[in-house]
């Protein structure tokens, strides 16, 4: 394991990858954030993996239905959903966060499974909770909710308490 903490030599920095469809910005606490267009998502993640980000630590979705006017860098059009991917470079001890805008009318992204198989559960969770589909995922099914559940609970238009508490004799959600 490399012990060189200070220099990130060998790891693509956010600036290196910035270009058409990729905008780098600094998040809170000096964290490196890349805003990636959906079309270049797979390509950018692949390039980052090549440059030393071996692990995908986290993948989650955000529904910006009630917060559409969030600050985004120039050149990034705000959409309802966002997929946030956290990559870690173990050898260089760095993190980078990717934010991808996903439109509401067609919430589809390519899966990262072939690059980072560890995203399997995370993508299933994002599908289950937000209804974002990942093309090419080997097993895109509900993971936390029951199979026959309708709707995606973490969406902002899915209100708390709309389903009666599921006691045995209580009326079901439908």
């Amino acid at each position: 394991m490399a012990t060189d903490v200070t220099s990130g030599a060998g790891v693509a920095s956010a600036a290196d990858l910035a270009g058409e469809g990729v905008v780098a910005s600094a998040g809170a606490g000096g964290q490196e954030v890349l805003h990636v267009a959906p079309g270049r998502y797979l390509e950018v993640v692949g390039a980052l993996r090549e440059s030393g980000y071996e692990m995908c630590a986290d993948l989650c979705a955000v529904d910006y239905l009630r917060h559409l006017e969030r600050p985004l860098p120039e050149g990034t059009a705000a959409e309802r959903f966002e997929i946030v991917v956290n990559l870690v470079s173990l050898q260089h001890r760095r993190r980078v966060r990717l934010r991808v805008q996903v439109p509401e009318d067609d919430p589809v992204l390519p899966t990262l499974f072939n690059l980072y198989p560890g995203t399997e559960n995370m993508e299933r969770e994002a599908f289950d909770m937000f209804g974002i589909r990942f093309e090419g995922h080997p097993d895109l099914t509900r993971i936390l909710m029951p199979d026959d559940w309708e709707g995606h609970p973490l969406r902002k238009d899915y209100s708390v308490g709309r389903v009666p508490v599921q006691f045995k004799e209580a009326p079901g959600p439908r």
Binding site: G29, C56, V62, N86, G118, G131, T141, V160
Partner: protein
């Protein structure tokens, strides 16, 4: 596309494993983990693998969700050939209570009471990661004493969590004395927690801005007693388990995972370290004051169940070392940031000042507003990287609170770990992954 379409596409035959004949080579390579290990572009030929198709008799059984060895409501579908596990799939969600959704309805002040219930064996790590995220967005500095108190408490929590793991692992491997001993040791730590926080579990002690209360009088003696007693007890465990032939036979060479696969599966914590990757966030990306204390990152060599046991056992020793240093180096000063926005006034002031009463009331009812933004913080919980992705829209409640739960991610490593092993070994392997279902399902 509306909701119905999305569900219609997936609600047929879910959570079921297909018949063996219907398994495509692609799916099989995924199960094998082969596609994961190879460089991109290389495809595994199913004929190269040690899996026979077709005429053999395989059987699918469900282990759980009410199996005592699954450490909660975890169900594992296993495809067996004789007693050998071929494919397996963890089925989760039985304990899903929508804590991330709940978190969006609670203020930042209430937030830690929610997250503390996720990983109920290390509640303080959960509170810590949320507090770090909120503080990052608020841009407030917390005083050194609060930092060190947090570190002390989280390390004690790591001891109690690992000791409880030793207990349940012992029980799974039919060493019931270990279970009794483990719970006894954990009780020492929980007693100290109760003295400090008022509760044995679910403390809500680490809050945005610092900690809820200062350490009680005489805490040094209590903590030193713990740090002095536990290592001696660990030596007893060593005699009882580490070198014991039956224990070694049940764990050595069982549930192997290579470092490449562990990294590919995003496994963190003892699973990753046991496979030989020295990745500990306390060392790699220090938070709190971990760069000021001296401790070792415990690394395994083989990546089997025995290594994961050894890593956890020795991490308890390292935690004891950190706890001792916390006692020596604990700075004086305030235990919470004196930021009027997030810190309630001292209790004594409330009796004499109307403004203080209003201030106190405001903080605990309305909470405080956090500037818009998004942040990801991560800490090393006893189970691995515990992360919190927090989005604020400027109100007093988080717009989105996502917890990257280590158990949830680590469970993905289970199918490759179980593959090719005996069903009796599966018990040892599941235990060695140390899933906490409250955190898996959230």
């Amino acid at each position: 596309m509306n909701d119905e379409d999305l569900v219609a596409e997936t609600s047929e035959g879910l959570q079921e494993m297909q018949d063996r004949e219907e398994t495509s080579p692609e799916e099989l390579t995924i199960e094998e983990g082969g596609a994961l290990l190879l460089p991109e572009g290389l495809v595994v030929d199913p004929a190269d693998m040690d899996v026979e198709f077709g005429d053999d008799e395989t059987m699918i059984i469900n282990m759980g969700p009410q199996h005592p060895s699954t450490h909660g409501v975890l169900r594992i579908m296993m495809e067996l050939e004789g007693e050998t596990v071929l494919r397996s799939k963890p089925v989760i969600g039985y304990l899903h209570t929508g804590m991330e959704k709940t978190g969006e309805g609670l203020t930042y002040v209430q937030g830690s009471t929610n997250v503390t219930r996720m990983d109920y064996l290390s509640p303080l790590s959960n509170e810590l990661v949320l507090s770090l995220a909120v503080e990052e967005l608020l841009g407030i500095e917390i005083p050194p004493r609060a930092t060190w108190i947090r570190m002390l408490m989280v390390e004690l929590n790591r001891i109690s969590s690992h000791v409880l793991w030793m207990a349940t692992n012992g029980m799974d491997l039919a060493s019931t004395s270990m279970m009794i001993y483990g719970f006894r040791e954990r009780e020492m730590v929980l007693t100290f927690f109760e003295k400090t926080t008022g509760l044995r579990m679910n403390h809500d002690y680490i809050r945005p801005g610092g900690v809820a209360a200062d350490l009680p009088d005489g805490w040094e003696d209590d903590v030193t007693a713990i740090a002095d007693t536990i290592p001696g007890r660990l030596d007893e465990y060593d005699e009882m388990l580490t070198g014991q032939p039956i224990f070694k036979q049940r764990t050595e060479g069982v549930g192997l995972i290579s470092p490449e696969l562990a990294v590919a599966m995003s496994a963190t914590g003892p699973i990753l370290r046991a496979s030989g990757v020295a990745w500990d966030l306390r060392r790699a990306m220090p938070y709190l004051a971990y760069d000021e204390v001296d401790f070792d990152v415990i690394v395994g060599t083989v990546g089997d169940t025995y290594d994961r046991y050894a890593v956890r056992l020795n991490e308890i020793r390292e935690s004891c070392k950190i706890v001792r240093q916390c006692v020596e180096m604990m700075p004086r000063g305030d235990y919470r940031a004196q930021d009027k926005k997030v810190t309630p006034p001292p209790r004594a002031r409330i009796d004499e000042s109307m403004e203080a009463l209003i201030h106190h009331f405001k903080i605990f009812t309305r909470g405080f507003e956090v500037p818009p933004g998004e942040v990801y913080t991560a800490v090393e919980s006893p189970r691995g990287e515990l992360g919190c992705y927090l989005v604020s829209d400027g109100s007093n409640k988080p717009y989105r609170m996502h917890i990257r739960a280590p158990s949830f991610v680590n469970l993905q490593s289970l199918p490759p770990l179980l593959r090719g092993g005996m069903i009796a070994d599966a018990i040892a392997v599941i235990s060695s992954v140390d899933p906490v279902m409250g955190e898996v399902d959230r």
